[in-house]
């Protein structure tokens, strides 16, 4: 399995993602944002960080970078594209994913463990995962997902809501919504479900000495299913 992690100026989870992908068997390449084309690969990852300082809106400037055209083409041809945190923000800014990520409701950056419920397993990202609830980790200032009512209806009907914040036993209550996201949304797919954006960082949860291990489940499964 070959993967490519794109480095934008200001990306800062690119190495962490490389470590995780490599650990679970991907042959990973790091790609510079100014490159014109993607190498041949099965998975493209847009990592977390603060691309271009996230100065205008998160992800907006990265959404205009040179490599993005090839990423869009790759996605449109059915390739797997995964955006984590800032990567999720970039994917919404390019229009590959619906909605936007606004400033956290309580206006603070939040770094902590949370739980997410897998809402749809009919896709390559979550297909064979046994658990319904995973413990993940978030670290963001702008993770408050929003979209219009019509859009919400559409993504609901298409099962495009990938992950929702919940309690450790799967209760999707407001109490477990860390950032004010609409309907507790933590991650969404595109219509075809080959593009996934999510706020949590599975790459920070890949060994028991770190904040937890549920990231391993995610990567292992991804490795098996992108074959």
């Amino acid at each position: 399995m070959r993967s490519a992690v794109i480095i934008f100026p200001g990306s800062n989870c690119d190495r962490d993602m490389d470590v995780a992908l490599t650990k679970y068997g991907f042959k990973n390449l790091m790609i510079w944002h100014n490159d014109a084309t993607l190498p041949k690969c099965d998975l493209v990852v847009l990592p977390g960080g603060f691309s271009y300082g996230d100065y205008l809106r998160c992800g907006s400037i990265a959404g205009k970078s040179k490599i993005i055209k090839s990423v869009i083409d790759f996605a449109n041809s059915g390739g797997l594209v995964l955006g984590i945190c800032n990567g999720f923000q970039i994917l919404t800014e390019t229009g590959l994913l619906p909605g936007v990520l606004q400033r956290n409701k309580y206006l603070n950056f939040i770094c902590r463990n949370i739980h997410v419920k897998i809402n749809d397993k009919n896709n390559q990202y979550f297909k064979d995962i046994k658990k319904d609830v995973l413990e993940f980790h978030i670290a963001h200032n702008e993770g408050n997902y929003f979209c219009s009512e019509e859009e919400l209806k559409i993504i609901n009907n298409n099962n495009q809501i990938a992950l929702t914040y919940c309690s450790s036993d799967g209760l999707e209550d407001n109490e477990y919504n860390p950032n004010g996201a609409l309907k507790n949304i933590a991650g969404v797919f595109n219509k075809e479900k080959n593009v996934l954006g999510m706020m949590p960082h599975p790459e920070r949860m890949i060994d028991k000495h770190l904040s937890g291990e549920d990231g391993s489940i995610f990567f292992e499964n991804l490795m098996n299913n992108s074959k």
Partner: protein, 730 residues
């Protein structure tokens, strides 16, 4: 325009200093030259009040690769790995503009570390605010935390530990001290000492603006009709550019083209160029017309004094300019050849083809004034004779609840959840423990770091206080299973021209020195911040100590949360019940006088080393040092974190249970051990003549002592966890 004595005074120089400048130069300086002297002879750059005493710090040890004097200190952690670290203050700017002040403080210290070739791997901070009743405190705290987070989070370096304190002495002068650790190959460390003649001097990073040209620039504006335009501006941090600068510098450092490199910190281009030349015993010539400027019509004066952030000065090997430029172009950063090294031993400045300044480097560096300021010795306060009946109406349970919700003791999660503490994927102990711990990427090793201060003890008796902070740092590192390696120190004091403040400084330094020598815990870097006072009211003397320790195997790291029921808890070290200057005395008995707890360095070392030995034999399951709040506070925290309780055995032979449970005697730890291994542990403790007591047995979820109390851990958790959150949202 003529420079005169008044202008010199407006630049912060004394009349005598101005006279000395004239004598050295054998002429009057021009305005730009005067500004350069004022910057270099300023307390901040010259250490003129502190240098004499800093010489007494203990700075040696086989682990030390680089002690004080470089951008940061460096220690050897084996296998060619080295840790570069330093702490720095940004107090005054943070009081004026908390967000930007704190942010640029973090940016500055990270530059100090990556200048040496190290990739930053952890940030820490020590922040002190005025009383929580003070109207300004909340906004300052909010702004500072957002600033620290805003910068560190964006760069992608985890903030793994810190310290937050409230005391009315900081009402008019908050403290913001930031610390960074970086990882470097010990054969690839970069220094600031220039070498070689005619080597190109390179400017990289952001453009130069009129940021932070201090009051000094106002003086110059008097002579000009464009006063408004020349108003100094607050430095604004741009973490995005810093991230690019970090990556670009590390990329350039992979090649063999850098002779020396220096970040532009306080006094910007002036101090960086002078320091590089001075260390290399060379001259340096700069053409200021070539400096990339953000604004039009900047004068040599402004260019030399600007404190614009995210800039570096590099001396390159000849012929490497193009390959170096390609790297900075790739990262979209300014790159300009602005001068060369010379053999004149002078700082020569050219602007628009004219020479605008020429000063022998020695006058700025070596001949800078050094003062032996008068200082007053501070006597050890007398012990207090507490009357028995003041304890009568008190209940241990109520006191504990009050202490756990004291602003200085309660949980600081509201703060550290705003810091990304897990980025880089190697944080194995987050904030909230005794020290933060990060793995050395790709190895089995880990580095622990903590930051401590104890202004209350230092104010009461600076010599003891100085020793105490070093010991506390040592203890915090041991508590997570790390071998203490070395420290950095940030000395925050009042006005050195006052004998009392100077006395506090001298004695704190000597306390720090004594303890660090005894413990083989040398000082490898640091920073002094004087004049922390407003309207004549100085802060309590506040040395912050940043400690760094090493774990050979990260899997052996220890945390403080209680692990298992039926385990035994021991108090390591002797409890005498010293309560003067304790939180208990100050907060509950309202008694602020008396001496701080005594430091016994022999016991400190012996207890600490024995705890490490027990850890090595894998006999310890949880550990926490006993600090402010004493035994009961410490065990309550362990219970809360582990979601367990304890049945405490009543202490034997002590007069007063308040002294026992809330006393702040030093050199103590609480350790959790498997009860079946108690014999082994006792044997080792006895062999090493370490005093210990059995505190009790781990329980389900209540904290119990006979008929005295039986408190649900959830109740204690509420006290501990909610105070700060409530304070900040209301």
């Amino acid at each position: 325009m003529e420079v005169n004595e008044q202008i010199a005074v407006d630049h912060g120089l004394t009349k005598e200093e101005f006279k000395k400048i004239n004598e050295l130069l054998k002429r009057k300086p021009n305005l730009t030259e005067l500004a350069i002297f004022s910057a270099m002879w300023n307390e901040h750059c010259s250490y003129k009040s502190s240098r004499k005493h800093l010489k007494n710090l203990h700075t040696k040890g086989s682990q030390v690769i680089q002690g004080p004097g470089e951008n940061a200190g460096v220690i050897d952690i084996g296998d060619d790995d080295a840790i570069v670290f330093k702490i720095e203050s940004h107090n005054h700017p943070s009081f004026i503009e908390p967000y930007q002040g704190a942010a640029t403080g973090v940016g500055g210290i990270m530059r100090d570390v990556f200048t040496m070739g190290a990739r930053p791997i952890a940030n820490l901070n020590s922040i002190h605010f005025g009383s929580t009743q003070n109207k300004k405190t909340k906004n300052l705290l909010r702004g500072v935390v957002k600033g620290i987070g805003g910068y560190g989070n964006c760069i992608g370096v985890p903030t793994i530990a810190g310290q937050t304190n409230f005391d009315e002495s900081y009402n008019g002068n908050i403290l913001v001290n930031a610390m960074t650790l970086g990882l470097v190959n010990k054969n690839k460390i970069f220094y600031s000492k220039a070498a070689g003649l005619n080597k190109p001097v390179i400017y990289v990073g952001s453009k130069t603006g009129r940021d932070g040209i201090h009051g000094a620039s106002m003086a110059s504006a008097i002579f000009d009709d464009k006063i408004e335009e020349k108003k100094p501006t607050v430095q604004v941090g741009d973490p995005f550019t810093e991230k690019l600068l970090l990556e670009a510098c590390l990329e350039l450092m992979k090649e063999d083209s850098i002779i020396s490199i220096q970040d532009m910190g306080a006094a910007g281009l002036t101090s960086s160029s002078v320091e590089m030349a001075s260390k290399g015993k060379l001259g340096i010539e700069l053409d200021l017309s070539k400096v990339p400027c953000r604004e039009e019509n900047m004068t040599p004066y402004e260019i030399m004094l600007s404190e614009s952030q995210e800039r570096m000065l590099i001396i390159l090997e000849n012929g490497k300019e193009n390959s170096a430029k390609a790297i900075f172009d790739k990262w979209n950063l300014d790159f300009a050849v602005i001068g060369k090294t010379t053999n004149s031993k002078n700082l020569e400045l050219i602007f628009n083809k004219k020479k605008v300044a020429e000063i022998p480097i020695d006058f700025l560096a070596e001949n800078a004034p050094i003062y032996d300021r008068k200082w007053k010795k501070i006597k050890l306060p007398q012990k207090i004779n507490f009357k028995k009946d003041i304890f009568k109406s008190l209940k241990l349970e109520n006191c504990l609840k009050k202490i756990l919700s004291n602003p200085n003791i309660c949980e600081k999660k509201w703060i550290w959840e705003q810091y990304d503490h897990t980025v880089m994927g190697d944080t194995i102990q987050k904030p909230g423990g005794d020290a933060g711990v990060v793995r050395v990427h790709g190895t089995n090793k880990a580095v622990a770091a903590c930051i401590d201060s104890s202004a209350v003890y230092c104010f009461s008796h600076p010599l003891t206080g100085g020793k105490q902070v070093v010991c506390e740092s040592w203890r915090n590192l041991i508590s997570v299973g790390a071998k203490p390696m070395a420290i950095t120190n940030c000395l925050n004091f009042g006005n050195p021209e006052k004998e009392k403040n100077m006395g506090e400084f001298v004695e704190c330094v000597s306390g720090i020195s004594e303890a660090s020598k005894y413990l083989n815990f040398p000082v490898v870097s640091g920073n002094v911040s004087f004049y922390n006072e407003t309207k004549d009211k100085g802060i309590k003397p506040t040395p912050s100590i940043g400690g760094v320790g090493l774990l050979e195997n990260y899997k052996n790291m220890i945390s403080m949360d209680l692990k298992k029921e039926k385990n035994t808890i021991l108090v390591i070290g002797k409890t005498e019940g010293h309560i003067e200057q304790s939180v208990f005395a100050r907060m509950i008995l309202l008694e602020k006088k008396g001496p701080p707890p005594e430091i016994n360095l022999f016991n400190e070392k012996n207890n600490g080393e024995t705890v490490l030995r027990l850890m090595k034999e894998e006999l310890i399951m949880a550990c926490h040092d006993i600090s402010v709040g004493g035994i009961l506070t410490a065990i309550a925290k362990m219970c809360i974190k582990g979601n367990k309780g304890i049945t405490i055995k009543p202490p034997k032979g002590l007069l007063n249970k308040f002294n026992y449970f809330f006393g702040e005697d030093q050199g103590r730890y609480l350790v959790e051990i498997d009860s079946s291994k108690l014999n082994n542990v006792e044997k080792i403790l006895k062999e090493n003549s370490v005093h210990y007591d059995i505190l009790g047995i781990v329980e389900k979820n209540t904290l119990k002592l006979n008929e005295e109390f039986d408190i649900d851990i959830d109740v204690l958790r509420d006290c501990y966890k909610n105070w700060l959150k409530k304070y900040m949202v209301n």
